[in-house]
Symmetry: C2
Subunit: 463 residues, 2 copies
């Protein structure tokens, strides 16, 4: 399936209508972000009839005054004047318009009327519309959101994400993902999705060589059947959080993005799962799953070993694994014999591997390196959870151990508990080295469950 | 129901058999902790035939040499010599023995034999046994664990907790709870529970005026029927994490504390719930629930208002609430009218209350104070979740607002997302002022679900 959204992602020229001198206004923020992010510095054109200069740029009193044709126009102006601007866009050969202002279908009938009028004109002029009521795009080459953006903490990478909410734009987006060292390829706030919708973007992501993981927060599908059909052929994980599944949630969505999710939550869950889409339950889980999929290899099976510093951790880990049909196989004779060399004779190693006696014998570092590499090399094990706590016996734990296990190409998830400062430090090191850390066991297990779900999808995928 | 465990919690004299000069040995750690925590400094007696002085104390070569009778003996010696020590204990009129050494039923038949022998002698001499294979007690007046203990970060308070795992003792215990500003009354590691078991402790907690919340991590019930019967009459919340519910979990328990949970997970869940016990799914949830119950009032009903900074948060909050039968009622005319004064006219306030337009009008502080106090005073609302994110519009959020809402005596849970540093600071302030903070929505909703479950228990309680 082909698709062309290049006018939004790689335009050659941009105009911002509604550009403002006031730093607290969105019309200022948009221009500011474009100024530092867009490579064609001489093809940025602010438009505002009552100002002559903003951020050192000459301001045009109308689109028509701009001396060249424009690929992308960004609008932050009152809804009612937008239909009038569409023919100007046509005259300037505009290919795409992002409407970041609010006040459309989400506020009532009148707004919906304007929205429909804009769409009609856009179709007539063959202009694609992005939004309205959105906060634009953040890609590795262009930032059009009005949200303040801290260039220094951004990580560029391979996640492309769509959010029907400002929550996934600008500052928040960076905070969510830079802390986890998850790099962004394209982040798309699509608001009321008058025209460009989740199907357009899914197609774009699947055709994009730099996108390895696709994620969506949606408050409704414009064309669910089409979305599911595209998803079924995907070779990259598609992670989806649906909002508005409950009656109260649906009502809240109406005044947010004026969308609707149709069908019962159970039916939707089935349909998504059959199409290989990973459905998550909330924002926190979305970030966790995205992080795991961008960093870790997909396991070959559901066979898990748990390495723990406390018996209780292994017990609860095994209990939760069993809820998600994740198997903790008995260790092979070979693995057991190898492990026994690290353990005292009174402690025959089993899965879960309660490791403190080995720590006491050999120190945390040596013991853990041996235990983890034996397990990650064992045929009966395809994924490992390492549970570590900042207890006295493990205080000297070196988080770089996690990195050294990457070579085995099986997912290793680290669970940390205990002293906050130590936890924060270990987390930072592991995350910076392409590892993942979570602070509760259910999260670790659900990640593995989603991995297995995706593996099944790959195996049965329509080719 | 009456019960006397005062020999363990408030002894007048203590002997430590197996005391050691070596700071890395448990026999040293135990003595050290007793030395700083126990009020009767002149009634602490280390016993070790091969040493004459430890930590400035005279060391006795045997229990029998100690000049006075002893209330509590703590043993860190090889299992096989313990039966021989029991008659010495009898001679010294010992009332309780804590066995912190391991190597009993959890390692096999031979250990089990020793364990049974000790129990037989204890019954004969009317001595209560605590453990074995445990790490002792941490109470507000006595610390008998061998784990390093940071007196400076401990918080004394009203939580009493039982853990069949070292995970809940000493350093880890402090780290878990001091960070959350949850004060400990009695923390009890009971290991193999040869004699003193969860029923003894539950009775003790329910009779203890200073215990407001009772929590248990158990890998089996010694007498489930009795435990449930006692629980049914409780006026304080009883929170329980059961380990070993799955086949693999059960196997792991055998080599951990040699216990067994009987019955299917579903049957157990029903029995616990019918007895008003709150069953949690893992450690993280245990800490969360304990924190909420020690700090917040129990709500009168399941009627929730969500105050959010982003529409998406309200939508997902409503969706998850619906899964747990938590109601988000429409706001009364009175509340709506009052709220409307804080909101712009184009934004009629609804539940969930999407608050950013009010923030833009009045600033975060003024808007939030008004919104929260209107909701917390409304008859149709009995609990509130405040979702706040470190977005530009909310950066000036003052976490002390949460404290100022305590006067309404309805539970207010704060959900924070965004920049880690800001999040950490807000969290610290809120927690230090008797508030709770969680970082994912499911957690907030599950807490409220458990609150409602406990409220139902109180209403139908056998009096």
């Amino acid at each position: 399936m082909k698709n062309n959204l290049s006018m939004f992602f790689t335009p050659k020229s941009i105009a911002v209508v509604g550009a403002s001198r006031n730093p607290s206004k969105a019309g200022h923020g948009i221009l500011k972000n474009i100024l530092w992010s867009f490579e064609h510095k001489d093809k940025i054109f602010p438009v505002n009839p009552s100002v002559t200069e903003i951020l050192g740029l000459h301001v045009y009193s109308s689109l028509l005054e701009i001396p060249i044709n424009i690929d992308l126009v960004i609008l932050f102006v009152p809804p009612k004047i937008i239909p009038g601007l569409m023919s100007q866009c046509d005259e300037k050969k505009v290919k795409g318009v992002i409407i970041e202002s609010a006040g459309f279908a989400e506020v009532g009938e009148e707004g919906e009327k304007v929205q429909n009028e804009i769409l009609k004109l856009a179709k007539k002029f063959k202009i694609r519309i992005w939004g309205a009521n959105c906060i634009g795009t953040v890609t590795d080459t262009l930032v059009t959101t009005f949200e303040p953006f801290d260039e220094n903490i951004r990580v560029k990478g391979h996640l492309s994400i769509v959010g029907q909410s400002g929550y996934f734009g600008g500052a928040m987006l960076l905070q969510f993902f830079s802390e986890r060292m998850v790099g962004i390829r394209k982040a798309c706030s699509i608001g009321n999705k008058i025209d460009v919708d989740e199907c357009d973007l899914l197609i774009d992501f699947l055709n994009d060589e730099k996108t390895n993981v696709a994620a969506f927060y949606l408050e409704g599908f414009k064309n669910p059947r089409k979305f599911l059909q595209i998803a079924r052929k995907s070779t990259i994980p598609i992670i989806c959080l649906l909002g508005g599944l409950s009656p109260v949630g649906k009502k809240a969505v109406l005044s947010h993005t004026s969308s609707t999710v149709h069908g019962s939550p159970e039916l939707l869950a089935n349909l998504l799962s059959q199409s290989g889409i990973i459905q998550v339950e909330e924002f926190g889980e979305l970030f966790n799953v995205v992080e795991a999929f961008t960093k870790l290899p997909v396991p070959q099976s559901n066979k898990l070993a748990i390495v723990t510093i406390t018996g209780a951790g292994g017990v609860i880990g095994a209990d939760i694994a069993s809820k998600y049909n994740i198997e903790l196989p008995d260790l092979s004779k070979k693995a057991t014999e190898k492990l026994q060399q690290v353990f005292p004779s009174w402690m025959p190693p089993k899965n879960p591997v309660d490791s403190w006696p080995a720590f006491e014998l050999h120190g945390v570092d040596k013991a853990l390196r041996k235990i983890l590499s034996i397990l990650l090399q064992s045929e009966e094990i395809d994924m490992v959870i390492l549970m570590i706590a900042c207890m006295s016996v493990a205080k000297t734990f070196d988080p770089m151990i996690v990195k050294s296990m990457n070579k085995y190409a099986k997912p290793l998830i680290t669970y940390i508990d205990g002293d906050k400062k130590i936890k924060d430090n270990w987390t930072k090191t592991i995350r910076s080295n392409n590892g993942v850390v979570f602070y509760n066991i259910r999260t670790c297990i659900r990640i593995l469950h989603f991995f297995n779900q995706f593996k099944k999808h790959l195996d049965r995928r329509v080719i």
